[in-house]
Amino acid sequence: MVSLAQTGMRTIGAFEHLQSLGNVWHISCIAEAGQIQEVTNDDRKIADFEAIYQYIDDMEDTETFTADASMKTFLYDKDTEAEKLAADIRYGTAAFRTLRVTEGFFDAFPLQMSIKKERVQEIFRQYADDDIMPVLLGDSYRKYYRENEIFTDSGSKQYRVIGFLKKGSIYAAPFESERARALDRWMIVPLGNDRQGGGIGYVTELTSTYLITDREDLMGELVREFRKRQLMPFEYKQLTDQVRNDVSDLKNEALTMGCVMLLLLTFATTGMVSYMVRFVRKRMKEFAVHLLSGAGIRDIMLRIAMQLGVILLLSDFAVFCIFGAGSVFLCVLLFSILYGVSVSAYPLYLFRTQEIADVLRKNGSR
């Protein structure tokens, strides 16, 4: 629950950051399948696609970034110890989730990394097709790889680990099918200009590209540029509203979840308190006997508190087994102590206000 809330908070944070940068635009292809094939099979169009890229790069007052999650990195599973983290293992090859990005990605989505953002952007910018591919790894990979370690994929391409993401990093993209991706098991590599598969690679890449600008007229010009070069028709769409909606959706979700949790907590608390009250009532005579025999009020209070303490400790232990001794466990432990104190307050008060003599009178026939 705590980690879910953390993810929610981070997602909202990421969206709000994106919103603060300006209007977000996305270009999509509105051609029919046949038309796309026609264009992408035509090698002469490659120069036009290249020109479009240059055009986008040169657009004024506009930030762009590309983030494509559609490809995976394949490693022979006999060569990799990290195969547990793979999305898929088939025929001796492990497929790892991979995000291909341009350096602008790191401005749009500030991630905490073991290496400076500017340095990553520099490395990603300088990467050329025949180089060793720089790769940023999610936190879960720390167990298997070291910084600067070089590994080879099943296509003999070499990768160098340039750094790791902080545990719990997310890629919260409002325009992606999955709103927030936990990046712990992801690899992040530069997009490069290795447009695999010819023309279709360009289309994939263009549709994974986002533009951030407050000038709608520039977007119109971009679409005209597509038309001028007789590429298939593209249209642009503003995503800012969607981001805004998503943020408010998320907040509503969080609110709903909070309410449900509050409700559950209320039920649990009512149950706990009435259980404790019943416990105190049932044991009242017993406590009185202890008091007669020389117990202090404090000894009895301790007995009552222990009753609840055992239950809470058991649940803490369960959390410890599931999450280990992390921040989640610490939070739960702290909460359970506070919770225990507040839940036992009423039964303890009940006991405190009962004079010992009264207790004995109520139970005895004196």
């Binding site: 005579k285 006997v289 007669l292 202090g296 009020i297 004995l360 009178r361 139970n363």
Partner: protein
């Protein structure tokens, strides 16, 4: 030296729209080793007095000295210690813990005393033998007769070496034969030098005591 000395004790119960003067101007001296009977009609304040003497209730005014100690100035912790070491309670309904065996019931006061753990079993055994019920130590109260239960209650009162026994109608739930047996136990304890206060309605029991104290409407007469 008095085991128990009170000076002008008052105790009122206030409720919604009523006020009861349960004890008025009670001045009482009990010497060490005395066996005293407290008699009075129902509602006259006997239990209230015994509860105050037993340090589980406090007077609204007046002084109470236990073995010469001014109890009004003691803290809860010290009162608890005195209940543990100096006082033993025996009640009409036995006040045994139903889910504990005889032995475990007798152990309760030891848990709050300074007596080292290794002496506990010896003490429990000695008390059980003194009460003549060592063969019943593993039984639950529900498996025992009224007389046996009361013997366990007395054993519990004695196990930490208390020198004052406060008994509130200890024979109230017993037949006359068993009552006399229990009274013999109390007489035996008096021989040992214990101070004993017994609240009773039964004149034949009162006759066995050194002295009679009569309460009427919260006053000693």
């Amino acid at each position: 030296m008095y085991a128990i000395r009170t000076e002008k004790i008052y105790r009122r119960y206030k409720g919604k729209g009523f006020q009861v003067e349960a004890l008025r101007d009670v001045t009482l001296n009990v010497k060490k080793g005395e066996m005293v009977a407290i008699i009075g009609t129902s509602g006259s304040g006997k239990t209230t007095l015994l509860n105050i003497l037993g340090l589980i209730d406090v007077p609204d005014s007046g002084e109470y000295f236990l073995n010469g100690i001014r109890t009004g100035e003691c803290r809860e912790k010290e009162l608890a210690r005195m209940r543990n070491q100096n006082l033993g309670f025996v009640l009409q309904d036995f006040a045994l813990i139903d889910r504990y065996t005889a032995e475990q019931n007798i152990r309760v006061p030891l848990m709050y005393s300074d007596i080292p753990k290794k002496e506990w079993n010896g003490r429990i055994q000695a008390c059980l033998e003194q009460m003549g019920i060592s063969d019943r130590k593993k039984r639950l109260p529900s498996e025992l007769s009224g007389g046996q239960k009361q013997r366990i209650a007395i054993a519990r009162a004695l196990v930490t070496g208390a020198d004052i026994i406060l008994a509130d109608e200890p024979t109230g739930a017993l037949d006359s034969k068993t009552s006399m047996d229990i009274m013999e136990v109390f007489s035996g304890l008096r021989e040992e030098g214990k101070t004993i206060l017994i609240v009773t309605h039964d004149s034949s029991i009162a006759d066995l005591c050194d002295r009679l104290i009569c309460i009427e409407d919260g006053r000693l007469v």
